[in-house]
Amino acid sequence: MDVRSQISMLFHLDKCIGCHTCSIACKNIWTDRKGAEYMWWNNVETKPGTGYPSKWEDQNIYKGGWKQDGTGSISLKGSGKYKGLINIFHNPYLPLLEDYYEPWTYKYLDLIESPAGDDQPTARPVSLVTGKEIDIKTGPNWDDDLSGTPEFARHDSNFKNLTSAEKEAMFQLDKMAMFYLPRICNHCLNPACVASCPSGAIYKRGEDGVVLINQQVCRAWRMCVTACPYKKSYYNWNTGKSEKCILCYPRLEAGLTPACMHSCVGRIRYLGVMLYDADKIKEAASAPEDELIDRQLDLILDPFDEEVIKNAKENGIADSTIKAAQTSPVYKFVKVWGLGLPLHPEYRTLPMLFYVPPLLPVMASLSDANNGEQAGKLDPIAKFWDRNTLYDTSTDSIWGTIEQARFPLKYMANLFGSGSEGIIKEVLKKQLAVRLHRRNVTVGDIEKDFVEKVLKDVNLTPELADDIYNMTSLAKFDERFNIPPAHREQALDMLENTGDLKGSAGFGFKEKPVRGL
């Protein structure tokens, strides 16, 4: 057992309101530079939709991630030792600027400095690449909130195995539904970007599992851009180096949350340590497709287990990190409650960012009710309410609402379950059970026996359900983010013995001030 620690994340999609605050926080800190304007290390896309870069999930185009070869082991789909070096002069699978969007600004000065004329001056868009005026074709989140559905949502890559009738049903005007999918680098356990980098510039940090690109070693061979199936490694066209989300490691080391998580308005984001067994990574990544999720979850170790703690200590994991693993909200969601699922596990990179799939929108029916009293209270001029109906979410069968979800389970399964509906259903049932339980506690209009049966169905106790409810709805900042101390005092000691530099010259020296030859 080779126990290592990983800073891991969980996004609760039911809570995401699609406000893009995370994206803006990230952009303002990290990618507001020349060559990086088009990059969104954190982006939020509307599902169904083609996402960013366009159709990134379609690996027939981009050849990202790993594939199982005949022998049962795995190899990189579009890069790797031989393919990568053969294609080094021209990478046929490289996404282009057009696949993201051409970044632009406006000639704002024209608004103020144009000479007086008959027409109002306008601020015309200019490309941030060439500086020339452009016609904007697309931009980040061009398909936000299902806008341009025929062009975008209908070309979503997750309709595999959906019948065309099911697909059509998703786009009927009165039945249309959507949810938001915030994405950052998954800091995978089996990162395809690291494996594809010919120069060896990309690496995973041993201490916390953050995946980074060494800018000094990157030589713009661009294979990581192809290899990452989530398209979260970006090529900076100005510096000639690839860049990616760094999980705000300077903030993490200082005990602060990453900017995207800190700023999250919907409080959908959770961050914490998980211990995993590095010996089993390869085995888990090469598992058959229907076992991928289970095998990945098996990698994650129980931080209360004596054996695990012993091995962790032997491996040099700090006590504070083990403690953080025991109190990690992500561990609870993923392992204890079984609510977190990885996005597209079939890419076999073992992503360590988990998602709680959205339960909303729940199906409901309009049932008759006497709203006369309500209607009487309304101002007759401003509004009127002529229907005596009630928005009713109860059904005859307990799990009926999930079966009739507006999102076909198959669609969700293609996103979070590598095609298996059973896993998604289980998670959604649990969420619904918690909701029914809380309804019983707070409103009390549901029969107690019914709620007990529901909880039993999904293997939850009222206590566990309350825990889930607390962590989901009430958790404060410190509960949502559990950052282990980075022990910089040790790290710094090992980086350089400050005593060595005592008496040396200060800033401005490239080399150490050592007496020359």
Binding site: G84, L85, F89, V129, R205, A491, L495
Partner: protein, 242 residues
């Protein structure tokens, strides 16, 4: 005449080699960040396909062709003993030369005509591409006009290059060569000289080591096992990731 001959075929080669060696190493050590292939495929890919592929494969073949004639002159002469083999070798090399020239011309045209690629071009790129174009053109001219290069290279140029590297320059044979060949030699050293000042440095860091490294790479900032053990001696590990 002797003075300029000595300059071009003895002085320039040494100057070029010294500038190349010191320049590349200094640049690697002092500003490693600038070592990059500076790919512009992200901005424009179709024209690049018709430029980069023929150019690179062509020049790789030509480079190793010249290298073989330099390192193993006897083997080349032996191969060339049978006329048909000589012709096959020469024609193959010539085809690769044409390929390189066409690729390079495409790249040059792409660099000038595409506004995005122009934005990421600097003046050294232009100088380098002009030098390379001239050099490849001269090489083709030599191959066509002064046959059979693969044989006389082994007899005339290999000893000359050897003498340069052995610090005992013997350039007399070069002085009487036709002007085109002389120019080809001069341009070769000019290009070597400007390598550290151009994007050409990227071939020095061609990632062959990728072939034998394991796929995954994990870097520890410090050895945690040691640091937790009070019995280990205090040592300083410099991490390799910064």
């Amino acid at each position: 005449m002797a003075l300029s001959n000595n300059f071009f075929f003895i002085g320039l080669p040494y100057m070029a080699l010294i500038v190349f060696l010191i320049g590349s190493i200094y640049r690697y050590r002092s500003s490693k960040f600038t070592y990059s292939s500076l790919s512009s495929q992200f901005l424009e890919t179709r024209k690049l396909y018709w430029g980069s592929l023929p150019f690179h494969w062509g020049i790789v073949f030509l480079f190793f062709g010249h290298l073989t004639a330099f390192l193993f002159p006897r083997s080349v002469l032996l191969w060339n003993e049978v006329p048909i083999r000589l012709v096959i070798l020469e024609i193959t090399a010539f085809v690769f030369g044409i390929m390189t020239l066409v690729g390079l011309a495409n790249l040059f045209y792409r660099r000038l005509s595409n506004p995005r690629v122009r934005k990421v071009s600097n003046y050294m790129d232009i100088i380098l591409e002009i030098l390379l174009l001239t050099q490849v053109f001269l090489g083709l001219w030599v191959a066509y006009g002064y046959r059979w290069g693969s044989s006389w290279f082994s007899i005339v140029l290999t000893p000359y290059l050897n003498s340069i590297f052995l610090l005992n320059p013997q350039a007399d044979a070069i002085f009487v060569l036709p002007l085109v060949i002389q120019l080809h030699i001069i341009f070769a050293f000019l290009i070597i000289m400007i390598i550290p000042f151009t994007r050409l440095v990227h071939f020095l860091v061609f990632p062959l080591s990728y072939l034998w490294r394991p796929y995954q790479k994990v870097i520890w900032n410090w050895d945690r096992k040691k640091i937790r053990d009070p019995k280990t001696k205090w040592t300083i590990h410099k991490p390799t990731n910064n």
